[in-house]
Amino acid sequence: MGAVMGTFSSLQTKQRRPSKDIAWWYYQYQRDKIEDELEMTMVCHRPEGLEQLEAQTNFTKRELQVLYRGFKNECPSGAVNEETFKQIYAQFFPHGDASTYAHYLFNAFDTTQTGSVKFEDFVTALSILLRGTVHEKLRWTFNLYDINKDGYINKEEMMDIVKAIYDMMGKYTYPVLKEDTPRQHVDVFFQKMDKNKDGIVTLDEFLESCQEDDNIMRSLQLFQNVM
């Protein structure tokens, strides 16, 4: 019965925490190992100086400061990875599945294909989107649609993009999403954009077609004052 007394006294002191048994120690050991690995991979990116960024982009110093503060708050390590992108978009579009589109978007932002978006990339893209010329914006959009970055958009790439966008809508839409709605959408797009009907859209065709379309031109001005 000495064993009973021993356990009793130990229980009295540790009433709340679970007893430190073998399983607990093993878990701690594993966790420490993981933490060591993480520490090695955690790198801190620092952007170039404020003046340089100001010169490279169309933002003022103040705007850059605000942007960086928000960015740094969210990503203390200085770089965004694809997971974060997907989570952010999932929060903005909770109805559907935004992960595919976020993936494509991430690739569009990550111009150097490093797998992480640093502040410079971020701010450069934003500068184009918000303060750039029509030409630049359209070129950026073309880059987004060109998934494999070969300079041409073919039907498959377009299908992927359109499908990803429709995925963000989710299931509950009005009118109900039909199976071939994306396909129809892509056909319409290609009809408009593909001038020489060769099945692919080049940058020039794209730019030309977009500049002919009034709707697009007008809508491009919408996002002027997002910042």
């Binding site: 009295q12 009433q15 103040r62 928000g70 969210e74 934003l126 989107l129 491009l220 996002f223």
Partner: protein
């Protein structure tokens, strides 16, 4: 939405440019955006400690105090900062929530204080981050338990006061449940305890062999057989007391069905039933065996002690709450017993003259071994049997040691909780006494103030200033408020003593009091209104009611003859007092001089209802005038006993 979302929104909107070429319909116009100023720094001053943060940070959570326009209420234009008169240490955590999106719970602060701060700043407790959530919940639960215990203790009626109109049943029940409330209950409690002890001891002593004086060694009798009548009488007495107690409890119980089903009453029944069954069972040999068995149940009287001992109750409660652990213990023990008994039986089967005659016979060996008793009446003799026997004893230790600490820790937790509850109840009494003292202090302050003539007009204030206690602004306003209430209801505040005396005198009737001039109905309003006037002793208000209400028909007649008034029917006197308080309210309320009134004789001086001077306006109507004349007349003839501060004006 999380903090980061707000930061990323502009970026997501900008990325919407990518949809443009695909859009089949024109996109909607952007919402009107306010002129985006540059991000500004806000200063939040919390009790002198300045916190500075970007406005954007606070805007991240628009449904909190700091994120919404509610903070504008706290904006101090002079200093250009937001001032909050709250705890700066706690604010640190609140602000960190805005910055990081996670609310952390401070370890060293009281959880209640933290909750209050959260409530003030509009943060929901669910926002507490995962790292701190468990501890937060634990501490909150602990707090809530403690508060619930407090409330229970209050409600369980340990307080000394019972509602005045409680019936005999309620009083009896309370006496049974809380013996400390009255002496009789305490006596009863100890008497029953004594008799339980006597009964149990008698049961025990009954079986001791005692020698007969003739020293016949061949026959040893138990005491019960030697003195059957003595033991029978003792048993009868105990059972009678127990029966009486049970019936009384049954009568007093607020819910009889529930009482009948309760554990304690069942124990009571089991304790006394065997005796009655024994009385009615005929003493023949067939049934006497069963009768003897019934006597065993007399030992359950010892459980009646659980009413007297809290420890026993706690033990019982622990066992009840550990029912699952006990069940597990029992189940695992049974499994192990069966397994090992089977194994031992087959191991010892071959041996001759073995004790292990069957598996159930081996059960006894297994139990004795597993509980490490080891009587030694059954021992294995084969090697295999010994090996399995040792395995059996080792596993016994393990199986029993597993659930026991759980039971033990449960018991200790419940025991400590109980101790805490007791301590708190004891402290509660002291606390309540202190609170009551404080409350009576404030009322007394007002009464004292009135007594010292503080309600005088300010014009005479100079002379009064010396005797009136110095009052703070708060007290002044408070007293003014009480005074207004008195005027509104035309009743006065007095203390308990006066009130109870008044009640008692009223119930006695007016026979003893030769009442005053305020007897007649006509004088009623006058007296009452004079009771609203200043310059009285604190006894005045109720004394007035006393004197007026206690006027009997006879004494009124006396007064009438004295005063020469027309008679008014007696029953009206009391109700009329309350009926028309307002008539002459304004009349006399600012009078200073007053007339001494006539006092009733055997009872101590009823006070002097104050009447207005002859010079007071006659607007109150004839009642006032009549009262005056009555007073004057009656004061002429009767003996005057005056309270201290009453001034007698010229009549």
């Amino acid at each position: 939405m999380a903090a980061g979302v707000a930061t990323w929104l502009p970026f997501a909107r900008a990325a919407a440019v990518g949809w443009l070429p695909l859009a089949q319909q024109p996109l909607p116009p952007a919402p009107g955006v306010k002129a985006s100023r540059g991000d500004e720094v806000l200063v939040v001053n919390v009790s002198g400690r300045r916190f500075e943060t970007w406005k954007n940070t606070l805007d991240r959570y628009p449904d909190t105090l700091l994120g919404s326009s509610e903070k504008e209420f706290f904006y101090d234009a002079d200093s250009g900062e937001y001032f909050f008169d709250r705890d700066p240490d706690m604010f640190r955590h609140v602000l960190n929530f805005y910055r990081t999106g996670r609310l952390h719970c401070p370890r060293q602060e009281c959880i209640q204080a933290f909750d209050e701060e959260l409530a003030f700043y509009g943060l929901v407790p669910e926002l507490v981050g995962d790292c701190c959530l468990e501890e937060y919940r634990d501490r909150k639960k602990e707090n809530a338990e403690r508060l619930a215990e407090d409330e229970e203790a209050e409600q369980s009626g340990d307080g000394p006061t019972l509602p005045a109109g409680s019936s005999l049943r309620q009083r009896l029940w309370r006496a049974f449940e809380n013996p400390h409330t009255s002496t009789a209950a305490l006596v009863f409690y100890y008497v029953t305890g004594f008799f339980i002890a006597v009964s149990v001891i008698a049961n025990v002593v009954e079986t001791i062999p005692c020698r007969s004086p003739s020293r016949r060694l061949s026959r040893e009798q138990s005491c019960g057989d030697r003195f059957p009548t003595a033991f029978f009488c003792m048993d009868t007495a105990c059972v009678l007391i127990f029966t009486g107690e049970y019936l009384l409890r049954l009568f007093a119980a607020p819910s009889r069905c529930r009482f009948l089903r309760s554990v304690m009453s069942l124990i009571d029944v089991v304790a006394i039933l065997p005796y009655y069954i024994g009385l009615f069972v005929p003493k023949n040999d067939d049934v006497s065996g069963a009768f003897v068995t019934l006597r065993v149940f007399r030992v359950f009287r010892i459980f009646k002690f659980s009413r007297h001992s809290q420890g026993l109750r706690i033990l019982g409660y622990t066992l009840k709450s550990c029912a699952s652990e006990l069940g597990f213990l029992l189940f695992s023990l049974t499994m192990a017993i069966i397994i090992f008994a089977t194994v031992m039986f087959y191991a010892e089967k071959g041996t001759s003259k073995t004790n292990f005659t069957s598996i159930p016979a081996a059960f006894w060996y297994t139990i004795v071994t597993m509980t490490t008793l080891g009587y030694g009446d059954m021992v294995p003799s084969t090697i295999a049997g010994k090996i399995f026997g040792s395995i059996c004893s080792l596993s016994g230790v393990l199986v029993i040691a597993l659930p026991v600490p759980v039971i033990v820790s449960n018991f200790s937790r419940i025991y400590h909780q109980n101790q805490r509850a007791d301590k708190r109840r004891a402290q509660q009494k002291v606390r309540l006494a202190r609170i009551r003292l404080a409350k009576s202090g404030t009322t007394n302050a007002f009464l004292q103030y009135k007594q010292n003539g503080g309600l005088e007009d300010s014009s005479s204030g100079e002379g009064q200033a010396l005797c009136v206690r110095n009052r703070s602004a708060f007290e002044q306003q408070h007293h003014h408020l009480l005074h207004c209430l008195e005027k509104t209801t035309c009743h006065e505040f007095t203390d308990e003593l006066t009130f109870s005396e008044a009640l008692g005198a009223v119930s006695l009737g007016g026979c003893t009091s030769r009442s005053t001039s305020v007897s007649s109905q006509a004088v009623g309003p006058g007296s009452l209104l004079s009771s609203c006037c200043p310059r009285r002793t604190k006894r005045r208000g109720i004394r007035l009611a006393n004197s007026t209400a206690s006027v009997s028909h006879g004494s009124m007649q006396e007064l009438d003859t004295l005063a020469g008034l027309r008679r008014s029917p007696a029953p009206q006197s009391r109700s009329s007092l309350n009926a028309k308080p307002y008539d002459s309210l304004d009349l006399n309320c600012d009078s200073r001089d007053f007339v001494a009134a006539i006092i009733s004789i055997p009872t101590p001086p009823a006070n002097t209802p104050d009447e207005s001077q002859p010079s007071s306006p006659g607007g109150g109507g004839s009642s006032g005038g009549r009262a005056r004349s009555t007073l004057r007349n009656s004061s002429l003839g009767t003996h005057c006993l005056l309270p201290e501060t009453v001034k007698i004006s010229s009549l």
